[in-house]
């Protein structure tokens, strides 16, 4: 029940017609002896007819009392909130103020307007200014004459391209992209095996140029990289070319505008570009994995800046990578593969599955070394026009994979050291065996690309595949 010594906080802005409308009601309440403290968000002269109007243009009070709508009236007992009402609703005001009648000439109900404290972009600034920051990362002050971009380079935080300076405001905005707690540790990042919090991932996602809505994908990618089978430590350290390639499946790809079409493996799409880069920056900055340090790559590959794309899932008759790996089409996932660069395969003449399989197989034999078998895994990135050759003939993905497996199986005698005048090759003891080029499940197909062009790609993988190195891993995005 309302008591005589209760007081009231009222939040208003002149720009809101409902706030202007309620001025006579507030005057009436003040005359009746109610204790009102009015906070005006945009004009301390408004409402001019009331005595206690405070200037809340800095929005500190509005932030503190978590005002979402103006007018908001809060009934206080002492300094504790008892109840509040938003907008103008005579019945609610009568109840709140414990009075029998109020501003009889006003309409019974008018909705309010949005509080300035919850305008887009403002809420995070207020949280930073007046809230208690839960962010734990060390603050680094950049000298007045220092360019923040250059400061990030100078501290070794960049992959070579400019990074977005990770200010606290940007990181708070980034963290709004996930429901997970900033302090949550997702695992130990190699090679330094340092604990990595959601907050550290968010900082690196800011630097990579991500939007907050990409953050769940980045987090899933980091978690996937930490799955034992992926062998991130060895992958980073190897002299071989490989580095994580990220395939994204499911509804999130469309939600955040990823590219699975023309130039899917190339430049120009922010989500593709920055999600892959964010994972690399986490490895670099949190894990300490840098070229010349633990990263011992002889040549590396351009995908070590970023290598991330969405699968084209428009062909319903064909299983996506995620479905093949046990996930439903409604689940969003990331699949990581220890990938080298991209090797093109042109076949503009095959219209039958057998001919196209033979074409693909001929190119697949070159992965790693033509005389190698059972070493690298590989992904084929199948373009839409090649995919159509298979689907028109009713071939499933598994049929294609099975046929490619057969077509890339060779006699060991062709592959051993010294054959064809090439010292490199397989050991002598395999000479009487039939050797598959790829391990079981070592060959995969993902669909992407523009609608014109009978050009698919092979993405070869690390020589150390499977149990001796890295296997593809999939993680659901939550």
């Amino acid at each position: 029940m309302t008591e005589q010594h209760d007081s009231y906080l009222v939040f208003l802005k002149r720009d809101c017609p409902t706030c202007v409308l309620v001025e006579p009601a507030l005057r009436e309440l003040e005359s009746a002896g109610k204790i009102l403290q009015v906070w005006s968000q945009d004009d301390p002269e408004f409402p001019g007819s009331l005595t206690a109007v405070g200037d809340d243009r800095e929005l500190e009070q509005s932030y503190h009392w978590q005002v979402e709508t103006v007018p908001t009236v809060i009934r206080l007992r002492g300094d504790k909130e008892v109840e509040r009402t938003e907008g103008w609703d005579r019945a609610a005001w009568l109840n709140l103020f414990g009075t029998q009648q109020l501003a009889e000439d006003l309409p019974g109900f008018r909705p309010g307007c949005g509080s300035l404290s919850v305008q887009p972009g403002v809420a995070e600034e207020l949280a930073l200014r007046y809230g208690t920051s839960s962010l734990q990362a060390r603050r680094i002050e950049i000298a007045e004459l220092e360019d923040p971009l250059e400061a990030c380079y100078a501290r070794g935080w960049s992959d070579g391209l400019p990074v977005v300076p990770p200010t606290e405001l940007r990181v708070i905005r980034m963290l709004a992209g996930t429901h997970r707690e900033p302090a949550e540790i997702v695992g130990l990042i190699p090679p330094d095996l340092q604990p990595c919090s959601i907050e550290k991932i968010a900082i690196n996602a800011v630097m990579a140029g991500c939007k907050p809505e990409y953050l769940p994908v980045v987090i899933a990618a980091v978690e996937a990289a930490l799955i034992d089978e992926f062998c991130m430590h060895g992958l980073l350290a190897t002299t071989w070319f490989s580095s994580p390639m990220i395939i994204v499946n499911g509804p999130i790809t469309k939600a955040i505008g990823m590219n699975s079409g023309g130039n899917a493996l190339g430049q120009g799409n922010r989500a593709n570009a920055t999600i892959g880069r964010a994972l690399q920056l986490v490895i670099r900055n949190v894990g300490g994995g840098k070229p010349g340090g633990v990263d011992r790559a002889t040549l590396g590959n351009p995908g070590k800046y970023t290598f991330c794309f969405a699968e084209d899932e428009s062909e319903q008759r064909w299983q996506s990578v995620a479905q093949q790996r046990g996930f439903e089409s409604q689940q969003s996932t990331v699949t990581l593969f220890a990938a080298d660069g991209v090797q093109g395969i042109a076949d503009q003449k095959s219209r039958e599955p057998e001919s196209l399989c033979r074409s693909l197989a001929a190119s697949l034999l070159g992965v790693g070394h033509r005389k190698f078998a059972m070493l690298s895994d590989a992904f084929i990135v199948l373009c839409p026009e090649h995919l159509r050759v298979f689907t028109n003939a009713g071939w499933s993905k598994q049929q294609v994979l099975d046929r490619l497996f057969e077509l890339t199986t060779r006699s060991g005698a062709e592959l051993i050291n010294g054959v064809d005048g090439i010292a490199e090759g397989m050991p002598e003891f395999v000479k009487d065996m039939q050797l598959a080029k790829f391990k079981p499940n070592g060959l995969n197909i993902v669909c992407a690309g523009g609608t014109a062009g009978l050009f698919s790609a092979i993405v070869p993988g690390w020589l150390a595949s499977g149990d001796m190195g890295s296997s593809p891993v999939t993680k659901e995005i939550v």
Binding site: R138, P148, A151, P166, T167, K200, N204, V286
Partner: protein
């Protein structure tokens, strides 16, 4: 107020940037002497050159066109690519 950023690393290194490692000996090293073009800086550098030579260091001499501005890029790049360390003479 200076801009503040959040540390993206595992915070294993000090927040302030470390200076480059110092030389642990002079013998066999190439030391650049940068004359900033202020009167009598050459006197100091001539003396330093003698002392450095006595320690077994090779010396290369460089000049800034004017003491009032930072060294031209070509001079900085030449020093960085040709020397193990540099001494800049500020003396009058």
């Amino acid at each position: 107020m200076n801009q503040v950023v959040l540390d993206p690393t595992a915070e294993l290194n000090p927040a302030n940037r470390a200076v480059l490692p110092r030389l642990n000996q002079l013998g066999g090293k190439t030391i650049g002497l940068l004359d900033i073009n202020k009167p009598r800086g050459d006197k100091l550098l001539d003396r330093l050159e003698t002392l450095l030579n006595n320690e077994g260091a090779q010396v290369r001499r460089y000049n800034k066109p004017t003491m009032t501005r930072v060294a031209p890029l070509e001079v900085k790049q030449a020093i960085a690519s040709e020397c193990d360390a540099v001494i800049e003479a500020l003396a009058d």
